[in-house]
């Protein structure tokens, strides 16, 4: 209770317990120092390569074969004839190289934590959903909700993507070589979206935090998304990141527009009705 006796809420008798201290707290010690991979990760060698022909296989069997190859130490796997099947290359918590020769359907490369995946074709809805870490590069176009709820890592589409790109994004970086559709960055909470082309309407609608960079035109901004100044740190980061995936425009990044949260929605419940109307 110390420290709370002065607070308005306590004076009003609204609560008597502190909000802090409810989360898990752990102290780091050198005794729990680990290596570079999860303790349960498979020991794979990038130089050991294998192939899976998916033409006659169901998605469950393809994913099982990927895990079997990882168990036997293969660090590079080529997926042939994926046939735009859904839910392929999911739930891999390992460093890996995966090359997909063709296109993926819905929910491809979801729940990844570590691998590097390259797709030569297109991908369907919700590609890279909930990815924690790693790199995914799509050479052609992607469907809607590209990188939904992304937590970390780099998600790259060299073509254009559909609507609601990076919806509910909580970290990581989404890079788009072409255009992005409406409501991109919707309810984004953290991370970065970089669009080299144009952005559709309601960009960054209800974003809580994070940053969106757009190289082309923006149809319009969503609620509480505002333009910010592009800093030297932004320019250096954009140049390095876009260079990594051969997406750096010939004229550089000086023309990019930076969008951030206006932060008017952060204390929305505290606003008076007339103030809420002003925010919306």
């Amino acid at each position: 209770m110390a420290g709370m006796s002065e607070s308005t809420s306590t004076q009003m008798g609204m609560h008597t317990e502190p909000l802090t201290g409810r989360d898990i707290k752990t102290k780091f010690t050198l005794e729990n120092e680990g290596g570079f991979a999860y303790h349960f990760a498979r020991d794979v060698d990038f130089n050991r390569r294998a192939e899976i022909d998916c033409a006659e296989l169901e998605p469950t069997e393809i994913n099982r074969q990927i895990r079997d190859l990882m168990d036997s130490g293969h660090g590079s796997i080529v997926i042939r004839n994926p046939g735009a099947k859904h839910s392929l290359v999911v739930g891999i918590l390992n460093r890996m190289n995966i090359i997909v020769e063709g296109s993926l359907g819905y929910f491809g490369c979801g729940l990844l934590d570590g691998p590097t995946v390259r797709i030569s074709g297109r991908v369907g809805w919700s590609f890279g959903e909930n990815m924690m870490a790693g790199v995914c590069v799509v050479e052609e176009n992607a469907g809607s909700t590209f990188g939904a709820a992304l937590r970390g890592g780099d998600l790259v589409c060299k073509g254009s993507v559909g609507s609601r790109t990076g919806i509910d994004q909580k970290g990581g970086t989404i890079l788009i070589g072409g255009d992005t559709g409406a409501f991109s960055g919707f309810m984004m909470q953290r991370g970065r979206i970089v669009v080299c082309g144009n952005a559709g309407k309601n960009l960054g609608d209800s974003m809580y935090d994070g940053t969106i960079y757009v190289g082309g035109d923006i149809r319009d901004l969503g609620v509480d998304a505002v333009q910010a100044e592009l800093t030297d740190l932004d320019r250096a980061w954009l140049t390095r990141k876009l260079n990594m995936y051969e997406l750096l425009p010939t004229q550089g990044v000086g023309h990019f527009t930076k969008i951030v949260a206006g932060k008017q929605l952060w204390s929305y419940d505290n606003l008076e009705p007339t103030e809420k109307k002003l925010v919306l």
Binding site: T26, G35, Y38, H39, G152
Partner: protein, 136 residues
């Protein structure tokens, strides 16, 4: 320190959240305690400040940059330096005896290094969770 904003306000002292109670905003004054995430989640990393351990980690993973660690920063929880571990949804406190650098960029690099060492440890809670709940 550029980029060390907090809730939209510029914080000039890198030790601001270690020295004070962190009750800065009107809302925090109302409830009598700070609201978490005491660091700028949008601060981009300065790659000139990578530690040798982080360079080795990136080489091991086969990445060209910090990847998911770009979103890891040193935070300040209950007046103590800490790093948030998303895998346990909790703060990992930095030992009090550790001397902290005088700028947020170097502190962030230390936080990234310590988080990797903690997450990859056999003592990490995720090891038990993985055994109990793994799907495949």
């Amino acid at each position: 320190m550029p980029g060390s904003g907090y809730k939209g306000a510029q914080i000039d002292d890198v030790d601001h959240f270690l020295k004070g109670g962190g009750i800065d905003t009107e809302r925090e004054q109302d409830i009598g305690q700070h609201i978490g995430y005491r660091y700028d989640v949008n601060l981009l990393p300065d790659y000139d400040r990578l530690t040798p351990f982080l360079k080795d980690y990136l080489e091991f993973m086969g990445w060209d940059d910090l990847n998911w660690l770009e979103d890891v920063h040193m935070g300040y929880d209950d007046g103590q330096a800490a790093v948030f571990d998303r895998n346990i949804n909790g703060w990992v406190a930095i030992p009090e005896e550790m001397e902290l650098p005088d700028n947020q960029q170097d502190r962030d690099m230390i936080a990234r290094e310590m988080l990797i060492k903690f997450q990859m440890s056999p003592d990490h809670p995720l090891v038990d969770l993985y055994k109990a709940y793994r799907k495949f």
